[in-house]
Amino acid sequence: MANMAQAVRMALHYAEENLGVTDIFGEDVGMPLGGVFTCTQGLETAWNAPLDERGIIGMAMGIAMGGGRPVAEIQFCDYIYNTIDLLKLAGNTHWSTNGDWAVPMVVRTPVGSGIRGSLYHSHSFDATMTHIPGWKVVMPSTPLDAYGLLMSACKETNPVMFLIPKALMRIKGEELIPGEPGDDKALSRLIDAPLGDRSAWKAQWPALEDAAIPLGVAKTVRAGSQVTVVSYGRTLPMCAAAAEKLAGEGVDAEVIDLRTLWPYDWEAIKASVEKTGRVLFVNEDTEVTNFGEHLVRRVVEELFFKLLAPPKLLAGKFLPGIGLADPLEAASVPQPADIERAIAQLAATQP
């Protein structure tokens, strides 16, 4: 089964062939590298940008306004923070012109910890991004979701921020992307660039299909009755695993993969919390002014009298960075044991 990098690559190939995508660009996005995570190997419209994130976002806005369809990459979200003004501008252009100009652009960027990335290859970007109106914000946790959500992002006429949990980039999916050969080796031979000289290499694309997943629709990855766990990205599989484990201990948790952070699937959260009365939000961004706090607030404002326990947030510690040494990273972002403990505690809280 494809991993997330391959899934992104296939979605982008589909998009440049069928959805009008004209420019897939960013630092080292073109060949010979095809992206530091290989997400753009062999793509027809991929090209290397100058090392200038502001230029990259500005270029994408210009291409979009010129009638092209850009998919820009910021190599690591850690390096996107000098472009927030431009992101805000892309997000307010349709509104400020009273509907005159749309800005159909996609920005992809790897996020999160888990690859021993130290301070500047471990940032999360969901808190900052969900505070910027006018964008849709997506964060898949499986290759198939990445494929389907990226397809929807490329069809959007609004700016879309596509956050890719870098620690999941190499994890193979459990579901087949429509069109991919069942055999991983076969897929790799078709679409992974070879080591060494790549000048003559061309990708051989499988016959891919549209498998767009609508933005704004969450996925219940595990049904349960006692506690609702809402997460996305890297922490989602950790939550799912924790729920599985706790099921053996008599705790029945429902796990929801939000997938789209804005607009998010409130109906899914609401229905679940109305059922369980207990909710835990999990993400790895730092915890002050964190998107999970918005979700807590929403739950409190709308479902207060249905709650059996205080809603909880488990997020990254409020620290200036994630340290390189293992014990530092482990102490900074939610670990499997933290999640298990939080779910178990919540399940045990009585009103």
């Binding site: 200038d52 270029m59 291409i63 003004d85 501008l89 400020s96 009273n98 100009w101």
Partner: protein, 363 residues
């Protein structure tokens, strides 16, 4: 250390006085004669006056409480009008894209825009064609003519112009991307980004990079904070054809811009023009918006030249001005009766293609 700071940076220190524009060489064409034919000269003059009178009307609206903020381009007409006349207007990559800043009203008028739009935006009425009463005066937007929305943050437009130009280069034809901004703003990294992205080897882009140097950033003299004697010199390192011109002379500006437009249209490569211009009503309404007498007025200068050459007859200029004054007064009266936008309309156009709605229930 505080004392020494004063020595280095104390108040009032104005830095190097910028050299007068006439000392800049090579200025290929100096228009001592009238190198253009009379109809064009008259058109230039007419539009310059029209733009000036419209700006003055906007200022008057501000001063009489019919608008909260004014910013515009009086003093830059000799550059901005020729610019507008040279733009190939229309929608899509076959036409020119305009990445303007907030002093481009004269250019917009020269392109043929109706004056009433500016009055409506000044009064932030629901009828404001550029933002529906949302944005400041001078913040135009017109997709039908490739007028990319003017936004307040200084210099960001310079990062976007290469984007539209890339689409245009691919598209073929002679459409180009034009970007304008002020002198002070060139200190932002975005100006450098524009130079970098426009001049990638083999991927040079058809961007006409313009800087109107009025020697001011609000209250700060250019020569106090920037060391580049000619802003245009910054293009040289990138192999970008670059020039500093007299933006107070519409004839020279027209000819210089024409050459630059032709180069960018046909060579499909960038060209950088720095135009020295005046700022005749201060920075904006925030600084009072009063006429200054210490800077050259390009219209006065042009009218003297036209009258001397017999292109304008005595009294013609005055009559022209009066006609515009009356016309815009009438439009302003009309606009004052127009409705404000509704509060509920804030939800409109947050997303393209989706009905406006508050994402949250309100109790």
């Amino acid at each position: 250390m505080a004392r020494e700071a004063k020595k280095l940076n104390g108040p009032g220190k104005a830095g190097r006085k910028p050299a007068p524009v006439s000392s800049f060489k090579p200025l290929v064409k100096q228009s001592d004669g009238l190198a253009l034919d009379a109809p064009l000269l008259r058109q230039l003059h007419d539009t310059m006056v029209k733009a000036r009178v419209l700006e003055e009307r906007l200022i008057a609206m501000y001063k009489t409480g019919h608008g909260y903020f004014w910013i515009g381009g009086p003093g830059e007409e000799a550059f901005n009008v020729p610019l507008g006349l040279l733009i190939k207007k229309g929608e899509g990559p076959a036409f020119d894209y305009c990445h303007f800043h907030y002093r481009q009203l004269a250019t917009f008028l020269a392109m043929g825009e109706d004056s009433i739009g500016a009055l409506r935006q000044m009064k932030n009425t629901a009828t404001d064609p550029y933002s529906g009463g949302r944005n400041f005066a001078g913040h135009f937007s017109k997709k039908a003519w490739n007028i990319v929305p003017v936004s307040s943050p200084i210099e960001v437009q310079y990062t976007m112009a290469p984007g539209t130009a890339l689409v245009q280069k691919r598209h073929g034809g002679d459409g180009i991307s034009i970007v304008t901004g002020g002198d002070a703003g060139t200190a932002e990294g975005d100006f450098a980004s524009c130079l970098v992205w426009s001049s990638r080897p083999g991927e040079e882009l058809p961007v006409l990079i313009l800087v109107t140097n009025n020697q001011w950033g609000i209250s700060t003299p250019y020569g106090q904070v920037q060391g580049a004697e000619r802003i245009s010199d910054r293009g040289v390192a990138f192999g970008i054809r670059s020039k500093t011109i007299d933006g107070n002379d519409p004839i020279s500006a027209y000819l210089e811009l024409k050459e630059a437009f032709e180069y960018v249209r046909t060579e499909r490569k960038p060209y950088l023009v720095e135009a020295r211009v005046s700022r005749l009503y201060g920075h904006s309404s925030a600084s009072g918006a009063n006429y200054v007498t210490t800077e050259e007025d390009c219209i006065t200068r042009f009218e003297a030249k036209l009258e001397k050459a017999g292109v304008l007859k005595a009294g013609e200029a005055k009559a022209l001005r009066e006609r515009y004054v009356e016309a815009f007064a009438e439009q302003a009266r009309q606009v004052k009766e127009e409705p404000m936008p509704d509060g509920d309309s804030v939800w409109n156009h947050v997303f393209d293609g989706e009905p406006g709605r508050d994402p949250f229930p309100r109790s």
